[in-house]
Subunit: 393 residues, 2 copies
């Protein structure tokens, strides 16, 4: 069998991630590989830590990328902070809260679930009730920005409640980091993880994490070893926290880290506030176009993530066919629904480098073309003007 | 603080990995990112599986890369195949056998250690004695090619012994795959893992694994859930094994997989037998030069890995200073000793794309220059001729 070189089609990535990757990041990624203990590499790692501290708005010393995707970042938080027998309150309002529950169980903990309707924010009152009902709980976990629904929860309020009941917190910021405010120190988050491929617009494969001193204290004083050798922070810190004297733990994904360094540089150049404002502005333009067509958002405006827009699929429309045509005819990727929302919603991302005026226009125009062509009951001929007007506002 | 673009120095990588990455692989890695469920991507994943089956010499359906470095590939094998209470025989003849022991313990298993001197091959007689003494053992794990010493063990014989005593096998082929024969089906290996950054000469960050049907049977019939959600093969298979209908598990490291695909294409073009022969040939040339200088290998020729050459550091020589000068003056990276061998040996890799005549010459010439300059007691003026002669042979 002969194998040809893989030349991927050039897509516009407006699904739930990966998002469009800036050419500067792809160029950085293809620079020559050097050793993971090379002094030049170590200096770059130190800069990456500083840049991540900026992105997370924290001075936490343990702020670094895990050498694996966001799911491993999630597992790193749970594997290090949960001990067998611990009670962990998990707030679930979408797919990823369910994954948190899985993690608690696999670490030998007992999850207490606080359930909210998918598409809604986590209800602080329900969390408070759970904290009161389970005084033995030591940890509260929730998703700041649910990638499966596009709903955002009030992280500051939830963390405050958890702390009032002497619980540490694990926060999923996979989709929020870089697109909407995430303030680790101001909100007093104890452990947080994100992904490289969302609003950081980097290639997928890395998971930035940050742990407070209080969280690390718990990790250092565990009575059982962390069940994952690969994710044991006591070991990982010997490499990432070692300054010039680094201990070998695993071989770092050198080129992926070049890419992350460049992605974080781009975010730093733009400034967090400008990035948040850009996502907000383009969200409003996308919303204007989608709503002019007659599409409805499943999340209330108050809790809606600007960077991830979940809209109901109009009746009588073939979900898969529409996405296939967007991809086939316009090289545009949007996301399918996940879990309970599969077949019911589309998830339209405009994250990081994908959050550009030209992408918003393309998305609205292509969706209108494909939907009207497939006989969907939408308003035609009005969406583009609404989008353009909002873009100009 | 201002952050500059990271422009790594151009090194020749002759340590224990990462090894030199072929420019074709770096170019592939920087191609535009597409979605991890894009049909074009899925087709590329299928090819990658086929190419990995070739590299591993197997028809195992579950042959794929784990989305994280080799340490995670190791953990994937143990987390899926060890259940709490299992007895696992671990053969240790270097650092990585020790890491296997850690993995067994963290999975709730009981390790039975079979110890061999570092630098020697695993002794099949000792394994047999352990199998007889521990008839309850269900698993045997060993390192085919010890990256910490450069010793190679007889994988076929060890697997045969394990099977005779009804044990499954986990084999570490991180440093062997692509550089020296690894024949998964012929040797009847049950579970094997490798790394992308050694003789495959790809960027670091991925861990190819392969599981036999017999091993998968055990994974499917576990009585406890796999303790890692991220590495649970029952879930990972829904994505990698799903054919056209793939279930989302985690976001695949898209660009890293472009790189692996290209690295495997290069190996396939050259052919495994030619790659093995190339490593052997260049090893003999390197050996000729190093021995002419008076350096001594720590592993007997019979068990010596051609791609990883551990030599004793001559007396009175400052280990770190020599490596720093090789790096600073000649952009040449060689590896330090690990664990019990730290400060005692250098590990000189010539793996994958780094196994080229020009690198062998450079390494011998640079080492002679730096060693003679630092007053080491070596023979000078003879190494290059010996190397050249062996290269021409």
């Amino acid at each position: 069998m002969a194998y040809s070189a893989f030349n991927p089609p050039v897509r516009t990535l407006m699904g739930p991630g990966p998002s469009d990757v800036h050419p500067r990041i792809l160029a950085a990624m293809s620079r020559p590989t050097i050793g993971h203990l090379d002094p030049a590499f170590v200096a770059m790692m130190e800069e990456t830590k500083g840049l991540l501290q900026y992105a997370f708005q924290t001075e936490n010393a343990l702020t670094m990328p895990i050498s694996a995707p966001g799911s491993a970042g999630m597992e790193c938080c749970f594997a290090n902070l949960v001990e067998p027998g611990d009670t962990v309150i998990v707030c679930q309002n979408g797919v990823f809260g369910g994954r948190m529950k899985e993690n608690v169980e696999r670490c030998g903990g007992t999850p207490v679930m606080v359930e909210d309707t998918w598409g809604e924010a986590v209800d602080p009152d329900k969390l408070e009730a759970a904290l009161k009902a389970h005084p033995q709980a030591s940890l509260v976990a929730f998703v700041h920005a649910e990638t499966s629904t596009g709903a955002q929860s009030d992280a500051r309020a939830l963390v405050e409640l958890a702390h009032r009941h002497d619980c540490l917190t694990i926060v999923d910021a996979v989709t929020s980091l870089g697109g909407t405010p995430v303030k680790v120190d101001e909100w007093a988050i104890d452990a947080i993880y994100s992904g490289s491929q969302k609003c950081l617009s980097c290639t997928p494969g890395l998971s930035p994490v940050s742990f407070s001193e209080r969280a690390l204290e718990k990790v250092r004083n565990r009575s059982h070893k962390v069940q994952s050798w690969f994710l044991d922070l006591n070991l990982v810190m010997g490499y990432w926290g070692g300054g010039a004297k680094r201990a070998y733990h695993h071989t770092a994904p050198v080129n992926a880290l070049y890419a992350l360094h460049e992605a974080l540089r781009i975010l730093h150049e733009e400034g967090l506030e400008s990035a948040w404002e850009r996502h907000r502005h383009h969200h409003l333009a996308l919303k204007a176009g989608l709503e002019a067509m007659g599409l409805r958002f499943i999340v209330d405006q108050a809790h809606r993530l600007p960077q991830l827009n979940a809209v109901s699929i109009p009746g009588g429309v073939d979900d898969a066919q529409v996405r296939a045509r967007l991809l086939g005819d316009y090289n545009l990727e949007i996301g399918a629904g996940l879990g309970a929302l599969a077949g019911k919603v589309w998830r339209i991302g405009q994250m990081g480098h994908a959050s550009r005026a030209e992408n918003i226009l393309l998305c609205v125009a292509a969706l209108e073309a494909v939907l009207s062509d497939s006989g969907a009951d939408i308003h035609t001929g009005v969406a583009l003007a609404a989008t353009q007007q909002a873009l100009g506002a």
